[in-house]
Structures are given as C-alpha cells and as structure tokens.
Amino acid sequence: MKHLLSTKDLSRDQAIHILDVTEDMAATQQREVKKLPTLRGKTVVNLFFEDSTRTRISFEAAAKRLSADVISFAAKGSSVSKGESLQDTAQTLEAIGADVIVVRHPVSGAPELLARSGWIDASVLNAGDGTHEHPTQALLDAFTLRRRIHGDASRGKGLDGVRVLVVGDILHSRVARSNVWLLSTLGAEVTLVGPPTLMPFGIDAWPVDTSFDLDDALASKPDAVMMLRVQSERMNAAYFPSAREYSTLWGLSAARFGALPETTVVMHPGPMNRGFEIASVAADSPQSTVLEQVSAGVSTRMAALYLTATGADL
C-alpha cells in the first residue's frame, strides 16, 4: 500500500487485512516492551495544516512505537491562500528525508493532490482532509466495533449485518464519510441520522439509509450508535434553530441511552461535547467505547504506517 487516502478505495479483503494487521499491532501493545524496530531508519513527518492535538499525538505515538523518526510540522494557517506552499512544503519535507507524510488539511483532497501530483515520492497518509475523509478514524472505529462483537475471534471477520447509526452533522463530517464507505464495505448496515440541513445533498446513491428522527432510528435497537461532534461554528450558522433544539432532537440524552439495549455499543470519535450531543451517563457507561477508540487509534495508525512505509501488499 503506497498511500492511505480514503476508505472508499478499499476492498473488503484489503479493509479486513488492515484490521488484522491492527490486531497484530494491538497485541504488541499489551507487552511490557511496546516498541518494535520495524521502521527504524524511516522518517515519518506529521504535516498538520489544522490543529488536532489528539490525532497528531496518536500518529506520533504510533510512529515512535515502530521506531521511526518523527518530525511534527504544524503549518496551520500558512497555506490555503497561497496554493504553492503545499507543494513547496511537501518537497522540503521530502528533501529532508521523509518516507511517510501524514497530512491533516482543512481542504478536501489535499492529501490526494500531494499523492498524485508527482511532487514527491513519499507515501501519503490522510489524517483528515476538509469534509472529505478521515480513513484512520474509520478504521479504528471498525476495529473497535469488531472487537466488541467478535472479541479475540475478530481476525478475518467483517461486520456483516451489524446495524450502525451515525448521528449528527453528516454534511461536514469526514469521519461520517469514511465510516459510511468502510462500514458498508465490511457488510454493516449504516443509517445516517441528523437534521436535514446537515445531511449532504446528493447521497441517494450512498449505501445507507437516512433518517431525520433519532427516536425512530433508536427504536430499531441498533448494534452501535456513533455520535458525531457538532462543531461550534455550526451553532451560529442557521443549520438548526438553537443548540437546545439540536440537543433535544439529536442528542444521545440519558433517557434515550437508558432505553437502548445493554448490548448497543456507544461510540464517539472525540472530543465530546458532553451534555450536548452525548450525555455523560452514556459516554462513561460500559457500553461506551470512547477510550477503546483512543487506544485502537494508536494500533490502527501503527498498521497504516507499517503498510504504507513498507509498501506491503494489501
């Protein structure tokens, strides 16, 4: 795998292979010695045009556990108006020896541009681009869900027949897009739930159901409910009448959580707006995978770095 840009291009076998390698990585993280020598001598650059301490730290930890040299480069605000700087920055990083460039960028498609432009030879790993995709987030979500469902027997398995609700701001969510493709590729049945103003126009062909009514969707007793973070800038942009109305209609409140079966997994990519899209009682319950998702993030990114840095066959 030369690059990891989106989950849309992954076949079922490829996706399962990545999840299985993630299992191997997760197994090494149970040991006393967590560090592997695998990427010794390789240089991983975290090129972040957008703040995200959580994702950056997760990639940094993953690269370090694989013994890669890690350079973190925060380029926030330096680029979008001056287009050429993406090229310049990438070429500069390659000139200092980057083998893998982990890119987080506010503009959809920037990692793909970097991978396909011919500017650089390094591998490109998409760490979230605009409102397009966030493939490692979806992979870690799928990994977490597969572990909850299949436990130690997860290897080789998909998520066939698993019913997942993805709730919130679908329109602006790269996490939602990556999850839609990956979960459906793995055989899960995905339903998108949210206000009509935050549902993308033109998703008739997506392999999902859509609903504007959370209570209705929850009544089907889904296997997993994935709550998305609502960005504060949406609150004031007339997508919904008020934060209170959003929370009332589309938040996973204590009452809604209480009505769910105890087998329903509650997921959130973080950081959470507690009491807004998710009640603390849900976030902190044994049904919640919030912390498992964080630790799965390191294993998933180890797998992604390993597979791209070595160019391993998928």
């Binding site: 849309k8 287009g83 050429e84 993406l86 920037a110 409102t131 397009h132 033109g202």
Partner: protein
C-alpha cells in the same frame, strides 16, 4: 510562396488569396477569392493569377468565429494572458473576434480602460477585440459603472457584464437594464445567487457529497435567471445569460423566450462535454465557475443549443498561471482556457452526435454572437462582399490535444491528453492570414 509578415498584416496590401475547393456550411463547394479585406468572388475554377492559392479540399469554410466571452487579462493579469497572447489563442482556434471581459485590474469600468484594451486589440492584428464594460464600478455591485461613457467611447462598448460576479442586487440590476436599453446594449449576467453559493466549490450533487466539497446548487443559477428574465421583461431591455449550465436554466430560458422576452443565452464548450465526475482526483484544471454539472445537465444544454433555446457557444476562455491551478482545490482559481479547443469540442458534442449541422455551428459560433454583441464586420455568412474573416476547418482530422495546441500564455486546458475531432487549418482575419496550415503566423509589430 514566402510570406512576409509586415505585408500580410495589413489587409490593404495583403496578397489576394484564392481558397480552392472549400465547402461552405450548407455543403456547397466553392472557390473563394479574398482581396482588400473582403470576399470578392465565389465560384468554381476561379482565376488564380496574382493570388496565393490555398488548397481547401476537404475543409469547411466558416465565417470567422466570434467569442462573446473571453478573458484577456490585460490590464493587470499579464502573467496569465495579454491581449496579444489571447488573440493569438483566438486565431489558433479559428476566432476572428473576441469580446474581452471587464474583470481586469483596473476593472474595465471607464472609457479609458476600454479604449486601452481596444487599442491593444488593433495593435495585435490577430483578432478584433471588443471590450466588455463593467456593469458596476469595480465590479463591487454598489453603483453603476460609466456605462454611457464606455458606450460612446471609441471602443463603442455594447456588452456590459460583471462576469465572475453576479449582479445580485435586484434594484441595481433593474437600473442597469434600463440604462443599457437606451442604446440597445446588452447586459451579460453571471447568474449566481451569492448566498446560495457561499464557499461553493463544485456542483452540488453526488460527487460534491462524496468528495466533501461545498456544493454549488443548480438552483443558485436558475433562480437568478428567472428573476432576470422577469426584470428584462419589465424593463424591455436585452439580457444575455452567460455560461448557462443546468437543465433547469434551459427550461427557464425556453419559457422566457416563449413569452417574447428579449433574452439570449450562451453555453460553454466545457459544459457541453464535461461533467462533475472530472473533479474526482481533485485536479483543479476542472475547477470552473459555474461548475461542471451532471450528465443530465450536459444533455439538456446540448438539446437547448440544438433547438435554439441557447443561442450561442462562448468559450469563457479564462487563463490562469500554473500556480493558480497546481494547488489545493479550494485555493485554486476558477476557469479554463478554451479558445483553441472550442470548435473541436462543438464538433465532438454537437455535430458528430448528429444534434446540429455546420450551418448551426456557423450560427452559434459566429453569426449569433456577432449579432448579440453588435460586433460589426464579423459573423457575416460567406458571400460576395462579406468580410474576409474566415476560418477553414478540417472536420476529418483528429488531434491528441496537448500544450502544443495552446497558443495563449496559460496551460489550464481541461482537454490536455484527450483526443478531439477536427482541426483549424487556416484563419483569415479581415483578409490577413493569422493561421496558415494549422500554424500560427507571426505577424510582427504594426
């Protein structure tokens, strides 16, 4: 025969030319004698004594093409195009007249700017340049530009447009239409409802949803066109709709014309051929405004052009330097160059598909745009006494379209790497050869 550029550049002293065996748009085969900037004789086996003979066997002779929508970038954007380089691109594509859009720096909102552009066009010699005047001062949409002064200037401006920006204020739009009506000018509107397209990057639809690019909904174009045709009806003024791109827009224009409203519409070659699917891969060469639409829209605009609802094809030739395109999609500039490829794209999408014939091509790429823009001396069907602005086109050629086909300054063509039918072999601008056997002629400074 050796061509001496300085003599050729002046129609009064240019060699007489016999075009041997060309096919007119109606299919008739004829020789054409060009002399003193005019067509002086038609017929078979014309006497070639004292004239240069051009073998036009298999070539179609069209009146020189007229583009109602060209960005020449001068003044202010000389890094990506100048009047000279843009008219060279025009000649390469078989155009003998272009209407230069007003969004230059400074904006063409005063008589002095349009006169400067006009003079640069005369100096270039490759094509007639008709400056388009801005509707509002600085394209800011606040107060009217010096419309009357530009109309009365030596540039004799008849087309007014804030292209790139929509005249969205309905009151200002009404005033502009009323004002322009007094000298039977035309307002060429860039139809884009600004609030519905804040941050818009790509046609709102399946592709934008998947790629995570902010959508540019069809309704943002259609709602402005609907409003504008009603304002045109109310004021009795002429409205021209730039680069119409959606199926719904075709319906609105069709309705307006059925009511007798004085509206004309254009479609670009790229909206006749390309769809938003091209945006997959995020190659900003395909970023344009209005955006590439869906296959259903492509089919609707082709049908609209075929049935006359859409009057003309105009290129929206929009040169940009490499830096403006080899960058993140959102940071990239809108626009594509199109002069050199327009006729081939029209052949590919409209003629080879059987939707229209060559008389229609002549109409939509020469006669009608010259009429709408009041471009005198152009868009005249080839006849004794008509202008010697003529294009000889080989419809049986097929070219692998590459940068060598581009004669302007910029390389942002969406067709690079594609195979296109047809090739412009000769272009005569007022009797002056600007393209000879497919190659641009160096005219030199006049």
């Amino acid at each position: 025969m050796t061509r001496t550029p300085d003599r050729l550049a002046d129609p009064r002293t240019a060699h007489p030319i016999i075009v041997r065996g060309a096919q007119l748009s109606d299919g008739e085969r004829t020789d054409i004698r060009l002399e003193g900037g005019r067509v002086v004789e038609l017929g078979s086996s014309l006497d070639a004594r004292g004239a240069e003979t051009i073998d036009a066997d298999g070539l179609i002779a069209l009146p020189g093409l007229v583009d109602l929508h060209t960005h020449l970038r001068q003044p202010g954007g000389e890094g990506s195009e100048t009047v000279l380089t843009g008219t060279r691109a025009a000649a390469k594509g078989g155009f003998t007249a272009v209407n230069a859009m007003a969004n230059t720096d400074p904006v063409a909102d005063t008589a002095s700017v349009v006169e400067q552009v006009h003079a640069l066009g005369v100096a270039s010699g490759y094509a007639t340049v008709r400056p388009i005047g801005a509707v509002t001062r600085g394209l800011r949409g606040e107060q009217l530009a010096d419309i009357g002064a530009m109309a009365r200037s030596s540039a004799r401006v008849r087309v007014f447009s804030d292209d790139g920006i929509c005249v969205s204020d309905p009151l200002l739009m009404r005033r502009a239409l009323e004002y322009i009506r007094t000298f039977d000018g035309v307002l060429a509107q860039h139809a884009q409802e600004p609030r519905l397209t804040e941050g818009a990057q790509l046609n709102e639809g399946a592709v934008s949803a998947e790629l995570g690019l902010a959508g540019w909904p069809a309704v943002a174009e259609e709602s402005i066109i609907a409003r504008d045709v009603l304002l045109a009806e109310h004021t009795g003024a002429r409205l021209h709709v730039c680069h119409l791109s959606t199926a719904g827009s075709v319906d609105v224009i069709r309705w307006a014309k059925s009511r007798g409203i004085r509206v004309t519409a254009e479609v670009t070659p790229h909206h006749l051929l390309l769809t938003d699917e091209e945006a997959r891969g995020y190659d900003a060469r395909f970023k344009v405004n209005p955006p590439l639409r869906t296959q259903a829209d492509v089919e609707a605009v082709r049908a609209g052009l075929a049935d006359g609802t859409i009057d003309i094809v105009a290129t929206d030739h929009a040169p940009h330097g490499a830096d403006a395109k080899s960058c993140e999609w959102n940071a990239a500039a809108n626009g594509m160059v199109g002069l050199e490829s327009a006729l081939s794209v029209v052949q590919s999408t409209m003629v080879d598909t059987g939707l229209i014939g060559w008389t229609d091509v002549e109409r939509v790429l020469s006669i009608a745009p010259a009429r709408i823009g009041d471009v005198t001396g152009h868009g005249e069907p080839i006849a004794v006494g008509s202008s010697a602005s003529i294009t000889l086109f080989d419809p049986s050629a097929r070219i692998d379209f590459g940068v060598e086909q581009l004669a302007g300054k910029s390389r942002n063509s969406p067709y690079l790497g594609r195979s296109l039918p047809g090739a412009v072999r000769w272009t005569f601008h007022g009797g002056v050869v600007t393209v000879a056997d497919g190659a641009l002629v160096e005219l030199g400074e006049k």
